[in-house]
């Protein structure tokens, strides 16, 4: 292998590519060539680094200097300063938010400092399109160990002892799942990987598949050995073209290297693996539905038992594991169950990857030990709420989960503790919301999703979610009635108890948790016709507090319907008849002088006390 003085590990994940990583790469290569550094310094495209919000990002090895928000224009300067003059280029470094001091090293940046990387061990360090780089970082050693030195029972025992639980959401012990399938006698069994990451707000699996596809494949080889399966499928969403491409490449490389196919590593074990692309149905994340889909049918769930471990794909014993679960397997086999248990809690061992998004400063992919408090994740890693706004809730578990309020922020993140709040761990989406979000609208957003994605098999889910959605629409549009909250709760419970699969059983969770923690918002929507966040257009009126208005004119220029009048340096006014409730003025004003009052309010003065924060 060629050796270089420095490797520029440029992130080529979906996020950074969208922010212009491809152009930056071309610019870097051009500049390096121009400066005669082509032989000494190389640009490597890596998978998702995780720090998507600051993309395109790049780390320089071996110095470990981290650059962010790269632009084509800055590239010449960067190359000149860092690689010719040997002075790391401060302008593109991460700046500590308060004093704006540059932090050069990746490991010192708060976003990375609190993380423990296991699943994401290779992120930003290898070129995901080269099997050699994965192997160089101990890749396929675990598969070799499992295939040549261990029996199926031994593999299952290690995984069981590690306490690894399925990372897809429900948290079923992986070792146990494997054990069930291994005990069923059948010539044909299937090892399946669930890459149908459908929760809105979750992108861990996409990043793992893009950044480290071989880790998933290795996990599948080990799982196949454990249950004695010789065929496997990776089910990936069609919305993830890059993940499909990388996995396809990785599978081909494995066949060439003798890691897939007949007689793997001369162990006598055969395993064939292929990719199956989904076609856009959220319900296919459910295991029986996913198997129906691979069979080429409508992806509709079926009752269990029989469980897939007995009758799965084409009625053969099958095991379906999530991407993140599989990526952990090689580590556990190599390092043992005790090592794995050294992090996390008794019932939730190891680490968990989260997709941290929404109203936090540092958006991206993070990995933390189980049991880390939510507060640490949101404030230390996430860097707190954007623009110093007030934290309102964190949504976990996507449409199956719920919103966790500020009072529970010190809760450790484990399967057990999260379930107690009414949310679920889910696949790891964590969407942070600030006081600009209306919780009734958030519940409505998720119900729109589940009502649309319900496969239609069970009436309570198909019709019930629609009724819930209509009621929420009524509440947000000012037609809410006193007893609506009770009806919502009753109907939710009925849907939960009478639906066949996880989709229906969890669809009402967003409503139940928002009612539980934000009852006051429902009440103000229904009785006062007041959406305090100013999101529901029919339930708010915008006023300018004349005492606070400095007459800067920002809102006047921003208003798309020209509803604001006023002279410079004098308090402005909103002409209610023209206002379209777009909220633009509220977001533009730097002096908090725009106040949101109930629909049809006329006298702003007496209400102001209540809205001041």
């Amino acid at each position: 292998m060629e050796r270089f003085r420095a490797n520029l590990m440029l992130c080529a994940g979906t996020g950074c590519v969208a922010s212009g990583a491809t152009k930056v790469r071309a610019a870097l290569e051009k500049e390096l060539k121009k400066r005669g550094l082509k032989e000494e310094i190389t640009v490597v495209l890596t998978g998702c680094n995780g720090y998507c919000a600051q993309g395109p990002v790049m780390s320089v090895l071996p110095d470990e200097i981290f650059y962010q928000s790269l632009t084509v224009e800055e590239v010449p300067k960067l190359v000149e300063e860092h690689f010719l003059k040997g002075r790391p280029y401060e302008k593109l470094m991460f700046k500590e938010p308060e004093k704006k001091l540059a932090i050069p090293l990746m490991k010192d940046i708060p976003f990375f400092k609190h993380q423990v990387l296991r699943v994401l061990r290779n992120k930003g360090l290898i070129d995901p399109e080269k099997i050699e780089e994965y192997i160089a970082r101990d890749g396929y050693q675990a598969a070799a160990k499992a295939l040549t030195q261990m029996t199926s029972e031994e593999v299952i025992k290690v995984i069981k002892d590690s306490g690894l639980r399925g990372r897809g959401g429900a948290g079923f012990p992986t070792g146990l799942k494997w054990e069930f399938a291994s005990k069923v006698q059948s010539k044909v069994k299937y090892m399946l990987c669930n890459g149908d990451e459908g929760d809105p707000g979750a992108f861990m699996d996409r990043s793992v598949m893009e950044a480290d596809p071989h880790a998933v494949i290795e996990g599948m080889i080990i799982g196949a050995k454990a249950i004695e399966a010789h065929n496997g499928y990776i089910y990936v969403r069609a919305e993830y073209p890059l993940a499909v491409k990388r996995l396809q490449m990785a599978i081909e490389q494995c066949y060439d290297a003798g890691l897939l196919g007949k007689n793997i590593l001369d162990s006598g074990f055969d395993f064939d693996l292929e990719i199956y692309q989904g076609a856009g149905a959220f319900v296919c994340g459910e295991e029986t539905a996913l198997m129906r889909s691979i069979e080429g049918k409508r992806g509709m769930p079926r009752p269990r038992p029989p469980f897939p471990a007995h009758k799965g794909l084409w009625d053969k014993p099958s095991v379906l594991n999530n991407v993140e679960t599989l990526a952990q397997i090689p580590l556990i086999i190599l390092n043992g169950s005790g090592w794995y248990r050294s992090l996390g809690t008794e019932k939730s061992s190891g680490t968990k990857v989260f997709a941290l998004t929404g109203a936090v400063n540092n958006i991206g992919l993070i990995e933390v030990p189980m049991g880390t408090p939510l507060r640490t994740i949101i404030y230390d890693i996430g860097g707190g709420i954007k623009k110093g706004r007030k934290f309102k809730a964190v949504q976990m578990g996507g449409p199956s989960g719920g919103c966790i309020p500020e009072s529970l922020l010190d809760l450790p993140v484990t399967y057990e503790d999260i379930v107690k709040t009414g949310a679920i761990m889910g696949s790891g989406g964590m969407v942070v919301m600030d006081d600009n979000n209306c919780m009734v609208s958030i519940a409505k957003f998720f119900l729109e999703f589940t009502a649309d994605e319900s496969c239609g098999k069970c009436v309570p889910c198909r019709v019930g979610t629609r009724i819930l959605l209509d009621m929420l629409a009524d509440i947000t549009e000012g037609r809410g009635k006193e007893d609506d909250i009770e009806t919502l709760q009753d109907l939710s419970r009925d849907i939960i108890t009478s639906s066949l699969c996880g989709l229906g059983q969890t669809a009402p969770n967003p409503i139940l948790t928002t009612i539980r923690y934000f009852m006051d918002e429902y009440e103000s929507h229904i009785s006062q016709k007041w959406c305090k966040a100013g999101v529901c257009r029919d339930l708010c009126t915008f006023f300018i507090d004349e005492e606070l208005c400095k007459g800067c004119g920002a809102c006047l220029r921003a208003c798309p319907s020209k509803a604001i009048i006023g002279e410079k340096k004098k308090p402005h006014k909103i002409i209610q008849e023209v206002c379209v409730y777009c909220r633009t003025c509220y977001e533009t004003c730097k002096f908090n002088s725009i106040k949101i009052l109930p629909a049809g309010a006329h006298e702003p003065k007496h209400m102001l006390v209540e809205t001041k924060t």
Partner: protein, 306 residues
């Protein structure tokens, strides 16, 4: 009775020709007779018939020879066989030549009118199919057949076949679904059930460029709704529709998994992140001009500053 209902009945027995004429004339068809294969050919060369009813066993030139001639020189004419000797062999020969149906002698008026009516329906359907086929160039249909053949023997291949087919054709109208169903040897109803279930498949033609807007939680929290409204207004279409000039199709997608860049949209294969109303329209403008971006500068700042 509609146009294109001209029939020629061919039989060496005048009584059969006359009774056919009487029965079908009463139904409103334009019908003529011929008493031999030779006469029939002469008449076909002179007139435009849509359907030929012919006997099989005739002196001089038998029915099979006549059918062969018609298939070769007038392939658009539908053929129905009337025969008193429906032996396995002759009927098989005729079926191989592509006849629509056959009527055993003796027949009742009801049977004849029924068969005739169905034959015309079939011809009409065929014409429609042909018209649609003209919309898809042969190269496209060849590619489609190649895809189907490639996957044919693999169990559970309907979804990959439909995905590839949609790539080839652009969308999956009923006629394409039928062709795929036939190729895979499964019922068109089952293919349709799959196409209608998965949101990835579309039965309507798409524009040159597909705009997919993310409706994920992060994008929602960051105000994707105002952006969708702006795009809808600019393009003059609703979600799920295609612009009149077939330049853009507007779609929404559940989550693109690029939440770090929210709000996000994808045009064809390119992702556009951290959108504002102006940035979204600017991005679309790169593909085809959709009008001047009138969003005032301050509003953009406000949204971007979010």
């Amino acid at each position: 009775m509609a146009d294109n209902t001209k029939i020629l009945v061919v039989d060496d027995e005048p009584v059969v020709v006359r009774s056919c004429e009487r029965i079908l004339k009463a139904e409103g068809y334009d019908i003529e007779g011929a008493l031999s294969g030779r006469e029939a050919i002469l008449k076909i060369e002179e007139n435009n018939y849509n359907l030929v009813l012919t006997d099989l066993k005739m002196p001089e030139m038998d029915g099979i020879t006549l059918i062969r001639w018609i298939r070769k020189s007038r392939p658009s004419i539908g053929i129905v066989v009337i025969t008193g000797y429906p032996s396995q062999e002759t009927i098989k020969d005729a079926l191989d030549l592509g006849i629509i149906d056959y009527v055993p002698k003796p027949f009742t008026p009801a049977v004849l009118t029924d068969v005739t009516r169905r034959a015309f329906e079939w011809i009409k359907g065929k014409a429609l199919e042909k018209k649609i086929e003209e919309e898809f160039p042969p190269s496209m249909l060849n590619e489609l057949d190649r895809v189907v053949n490639q996957y044919k023997k693999k169990p559970g291949s309907s979804i990959p076949v439909l995905q590839r087919s949609q790539e080839v054709v652009g969308y999956l109208p009923p006629v394409i679904q039928k062709r795929i169903a036939k190729g895979l040897n499964i019922s068109p109803a089952e293919i349709h059930s799959i196409v209608s279930f998965y949101s990835f498949f579309t039965m309507k033609p798409r524009g040159d460029h597909t705009i997919r807007i993310c409706l994920g939680t992060a994008c929602y929290v960051k105000g994707i709704e105002t952006i969708i409204n702006k795009i809808k207004e600019t393009l003059g279409v609703e979600v799920g529709e295609t612009t009149k000039d077939r330049k853009f199709s507007l779609e929404t997608v559940r989550c693109l998994g690029a939440c770090g860049l929210a709000p996000v949209m994808v045009i064809d294969h390119d992702t556009y992140g951290a959108l504002s109303r102006k940035k979204a329209i600017d991005a679309i403008n790169q593909y085809a001009p959709v009008g001047i971006n009138e969003t005032p500068a301050e509003e953009i700042e406000a949204v971007e500053g979010e």
